[in-house]
């Protein structure tokens, strides 16, 4: 019984300790941001590996998600004779929910895991300690540029995902299933609001980008400096980011669109 209690206590304390370390790390990175400005190239280099290299998976998944939405939406709407509203269904689903969320999940799998593994290996091979020996702060030199790159890339990736998804839905709905093209676009434009829907989607993706890169960077920095530790940290990044994104999405949706 006492053993069980001790185990519970240790787990809880460990969780709180990690949470605290994550926040301290975040605070130190944020404090290091001003010194990053003169060396903004570091961020651009990271935006390539985080953003540009994620483009393929984002575009391909976006097209297919949009096409599936078009197909399923059509099958449901045609029963009510309102297949003209297909554009609204596809666009609102993508802009409000699927765009930011699925893009963030893909981002966690494609970019977040890579960030964690990279930083974890740097730690395991003592490159980070080496930097400290040379009086270079690895937080400012290694972690902060990656955090910032993820924060900047995520909204762009989500916007690309959404736009490509709408085109995919257009291709299936108008091209293959014969929905009227004018009705598709005009109903969409009548029902999708720029501030209410699109900008709230962008805010969501900003939040997700921040959280996803924060978790990725922290897990890498906090990893046990062994091959096993790095592999566990990478797994944790993907799992925790996915959970955080889905949970935050509910909270953000309730705040933005719900009357809770």
């Amino acid at each position: 019984m006492t053993q069980w209690l001790q185990y519970l206590g240790r787990t809880a304390l460990g969780f709180l300790e990690r949470l605290g370390r994550a926040h301290i790390l975040l605070l130190r990175m944020l404090l290091g941001l001003p010194s990053l400005l003169p060396r903004f190239r570091l961020v651009i280099v990271q935006m390539r590996s985080v953003g540009v290299l994620s483009l393929v998976i984002i575009v391909v998944s976006g097209v297919f998600v949009g096409m599936v939405l078009g197909l399923q939406g059509y099958n449901t709407l045609v029963d009510f004779g309102s297949e003209q509203s297909l554009g609204v269904v596809v666009a609102l689903t993508l802009v409000r929910e699927l765009g930011p969320v699925v893009a963030a999940l893909l981002f966690a799998g494609r970019a977040g895991s890579a960030l964690t593994a990279e930083i974890g290996l740097m730690k395991a091979t003592e490159q980070l300690s080496g930097m400290e020996m040379m009086a270079v702060d690895p937080l400012r030199r290694v972690l902060a540029p990656r955090l910032l790159a993820g924060f900047f890339s995520m909204p762009l990736l989500a916007a690309i995902f959404t736009a490509v998804g709408v085109l995919g839905g257009y291709f299936v709905g108008v091209g293959l299933l014969g929905v009227d093209s004018g009705a598709f676009w005009s109903q969409m434009q009548a029902k999708v609001d720029w501030y209410e829907d699109v900008l709230n989607g962008v805010i969501k993706s900003l939040v997700f980008g921040f959280v996803a890169s924060w978790i990725a960077v922290f897990e890498g920095y906090d990893a046990d400096p062994t091959s096993e530790g790095v592999s566990r940290a990478t797994t944790r990044t993907v799992v925790h980011t996915s959970l955080a994104v889905l949970g935050l999405d509910f909270v953000l949706t309730a705040l933005m669109f719900g009357d809770l």
């Binding site: 390539r48 540009v52 483009l55 990736l157 916007a159 736009a163 490509v164 709408v166 434009q189």
Partner: protein
């Protein structure tokens, strides 16, 4: 050379992201559609007994064409009527003074909008004027209530006639 390709790659990525946002703005959302602001419109008010489910930003249309938007809905505490402020595009500046405003529903279950019907006056509505002829929204419960009340009244009056 390598830094050049890197920068081109990131530049193309940012440009693609901004282009996607631009497409969402112009093609997907209503930003390119009917837009109305302080400078491009003038304000009219109308009082209704009941606005039903009318919402702020609901369209104001004449002959089926949207010419403005509802900007505010308040209760006037002197008359206990709903006071609705309408923003009408400046180019529609020849609405006769005796025009009437009604609250209609688009389709059976659609959203509610304000329909203006032109009168015959030679004088035109100016900024800040009030539309005097109004017709409230149809509230389904009231209609059913009136119908049932009428039925009940018939039921009472008929036996009375027999005697």
């Amino acid at each position: 050379m390598e830094t050049r390709t890197l920068e081109i790659g990131v530049g193309a990525f940012v440009a693609a992201g901004l282009a996607a946002l631009f497409m969402l703005a112009m093609q997907v959302s209503n930003l390119s559609g009917f837009s109305i602001d302080e400078r491009s419109s003038y304000t009219l008010t109308a009082r209704f007994d009941n606005v039903g489910g009318l919402k702020v930003r609901a369209p104001v249309s004449m002959a089926g064409v949207q010419i403005g938007r509802v900007v505010a809905i308040d209760v006037n505490q002197d008359t206990y009527e709903a006071e609705v402020r309408l923003a009408i595009l400046n180019k529609y500046n020849r609405l006769p003074e005796d025009s009437s405003a009604s609250i209609f529903t688009a389709g059976l279950l659609g959203e509610q909008y304000i329909g203006l019907e032109a009168g015959g006056s030679e004088r035109y509505l100016q900024d800040g004027d009030r539309i005097r002829l109004t017709q409230s929204a149809l509230v389904l419960e009231q209609i059913i209530g009136q119908f049932l009340f009428g039925k009940a009244a018939e039921g009472i009056s008929q036996p009375a006639e027999k005697e």
